[in-house]
């Protein structure tokens, strides 16, 4: 018999059934696919720009750190494009996409009454929220993978491969100087950066879900989430506040940038991973507790 859904032995609904529910909604919504389109357009613009720029200013900066290039072909390659495009994509675009998706998942559903329709069914609130988080995490992972694969593929196809030269200052590490990663190491560095960046995005996803579980409208949820994120990002841009950096969640979220230094400080990466795990557990626990106690008034 063709049955829909699944019931556990206790009569409660399994996480699998919740995930199927969330996936059907996510996949069916047009706005889910808009970020993929936006990323494609952004990558095309970046590739076109890289073709036309002569990188005169970048060359002069590299020169001050001892890397002398006569023309852009000596350092601009697919890896260079990917590493440098990751900054705006993972610091600006991805947080926006994830905040919007999270806002729609709880506050948006509360606003439109569909959350109410879910919660009059015998499904545990905790399981529903965790299902939403797993789906959001999967969505973030897929978006991040799409971004990095598209960047690398178009970059390599357009500009070939080579050593990765980068200006440290662009990667917010608070250090001056430039780095060089040998071409053979770059693919693994990119995978590492993707994994770390995605882990960082999980924190944003959990925070967005927590805020979404607290407020009554999707717009309020993503405006609040992005405000907090950008406020912390701004704090991190003031050198005189460097004593504060280790306590800011964005510092650990952006640890992936270290993958493009000449020498990766693995100790700092482990510390950040521990911080990120702590943030994730705390934010998810708070989201579940508050969602369990929330009155669904809409």
């Amino acid at each position: 018999m063709n049955a829909v859904g699944a019931t556990g032995a206790s009569g409660s609904i399994s996480l699998g059934a919740v995930l199927r529910f969330e996936w059907t909604k996510l996949a069916g919504r047009r706005i889910t696919w808009v970020p993929f389109l936006v990323l494609t357009l952004v990558v095309l613009i970046i590739v076109t720009t890289f073709h036309h720029l002569q990188f005169i200013y970048a060359r002069s900066l590299f020169k001050t750190f001892g890397f002398v290039f006569q023309n852009k072909d000596e350092f601009v390659n697919g890896y260079y494009m990917t590493a440098h495009a990751m900054n705006p994509v993972f610091q600006l675009l991805m947080p926006i996409f994830i905040s919007v998706a999270a806002g729609l998942m709880v506050a948006g559903e509360a606003e439109h009454g569909t959350l109410r329709a879910c919660l009059v069914r015998p499904v545990s609130r905790t399981r529903l929220l965790l299902g939403k988080f797993v789906m959001l995490a999967g969505y973030s992972l897929a978006l991040a993978l799409f971004a990095i694969v598209l960047l690398t593929a178009t970059g390599v196809l357009s500009f070939g491969t080579g050593n990765l030269y980068s200006l440290n200052i662009l990667f917010n590490n608070g250090q001056e100087g430039a780095s060089m990663v040998p071409a053979a190491e770059v693919p693994m560095r990119l995978v590492g950066a993707w994994l770390l960046a995605t882990t960082g995005l999980m924190i944003l996803a959990a925070m967005a879900l927590l805020i979404s579980a607290l407020v009554e409208s999707a717009a309020m949820a993503y405006v609040l989430t992005l405000s907090i994120y950008f406020a912390f990002l701004t704090l991190r841009s003031f050198p005189f506040l460097d004593w504060l950096y280790p306590y800011l969640f964005v510092t650990h979220m952006l640890r992936w940038q270290q993958c493009f230094y000449s020498f990766v400080k693995t100790g700092e990466i482990y510390v950040s991973l521990i911080h990120l795990a702590g943030y994730l557990i705390a934010l998810l626990a708070a989201a579940v507790l508050l969602f369990e106690q929330r009155d669904i008034k809409n």
Binding site: V4, G5, G11, G28, L119, V120, D295
Partner: protein, 333 residues
């Protein structure tokens, strides 16, 4: 008859820290019992606390005091089991507009454990949506969304159906179809139904038990038939109303109230629009016996009819309007 839904002392206070007027007590010590097989009506003006009470019995909001049990399962400690046999929508049925009607039914049903596809077909047939189930909900009319809402409530087959204003916003055809569907579900499918409405005729036609809420409080609860017996008046247009009243008091022990406004029935027949009459609460006395007694005593009985809008009268007498303009007018009276 066994109790399916029991609400005891339900109270809900919304704490409003920054609002003028402070906390709001939306539901105040409301108790009622819905027995299996009943169609239970929630009546009340806008803002009376009907939807809040429904949210409380569905576990969407938490009571400040009181308890709810569905099929013996306490909602606060055993919510999942309590809701297992409930189909409900509150305020308005809500769906994902970009998904088809059928897909919406499938995913919502998935949250209740799932049903065979044939059961979805049966419910689509029952609600008259067969043939339109593959269209996106965003193109559905309001009536179709209401019917899809009822369809969603019926999957998987529930024991208790909770419907909040199911005919709200429907055209007369839609209202009739929805009412027929509710009657079918109650009589043919044997479902217990809790129905909230501010449409008195709807409750009168569909329900066998009602509770009237006003400003969060239950002001009347009982079997509709018993309330009708107690409250429905006989409207008698007769000459010499004082003497007729005395006769009815003496012969049947009935309290008759002289009413000096014209009856609609009298006006309709082109008779004296200022004719006086009596309002008599029959309380089980045979209407024919009253008529015979009056005629045999030589009274000219122009019309004699059970009060048409008795529930409306009770409702208006006992509840207050939430509209400040109407309240001011009532206060001036």
């Amino acid at each position: 008859m066994t109790a399916l839904l029991v609400a005891e002392g339900l109270t809900k206070v919304f704490h409003r820290r920054f609002a003028r007027g402070g906390d709001l007590c939306a539901v105040d010590d409301v108790s009622f019992t819905v027995h299996r097989g009943n169609v239970f009506g929630f009546l009340g003006p806008n803002g009376a606390g009907k939807s809040t009470t429904l949210r409380l019995i569905l576990g969407l909001i938490y009571p400040t005091a009181g308890r709810v049990a569905i099929a013996g399962h306490d909602l606060s400690t055993d919510r999942l089991r309590a809701l297992r046999n409930v189909g409900a929508f509150v305020e308005a049925p809500s769906f994902y507009p970009y998904l088809t009607g059928r897909k919406n039914l499938e995913i919502f049903t998935g949250l209740s454990g799932g049903v065979p596809a044939a059961e979805i077909d049966r419910v689509l047939e029952l609600t008259g949506l067969k043939g339109r189930e593959h269209e996106a909900v965003q193109v559905y009319s309001h009536g179709m969304k209401q019917r899809l809402g009822i369809a969603a409530c019926l999957l998987p087959r529930p024991e208790l159906l909770v419907l909040d204003e199911p005919t709200d916003g429907l055209d007369p055809h839609g209202i009739r179809q929805t009412r027929e569907l509710i009657v079918h579900l109650a009589r043919a499918e044997g479902l217990t139904i809790v129905l909230s409405s501010h449409l008195l005729s709807e409750v009168e036609n569909l329900c066998n038990r009602v509770v009237i809420l006003d400003r969060g409080r239950s002001i009347l609860e009982g079997e509709l038939a018993a309330l009708e017996r107690q409250c429905r008046r006989l409207e008698v247009s007769v000459d010499r109303p004082e003497k007729a009243a005395a006769l009815l008091r003496e012969k049947f022990g009935l309290a008759a109230e002289i009413h000096d406004t014209a009856f609609q029935a009298v006006q309709d027949h082109g008779q004296d629009a200022r004719a006086t009459g009596l309002h008599v609460v029959l309380d089980g006395t045979d209407l024919a016996a009253v008529n015979t007694a009056l005629v045999q005593a030589g009274f000219a009985v122009r019309s004699l009819a059970p009060e048409a809008r008795w529930l409306e009268r009770i409702f208006l007498e006992r509840t207050s309007s939430t509209d400040p303009g109407v309240r001011a007018t009532e206060a001036q009276r």
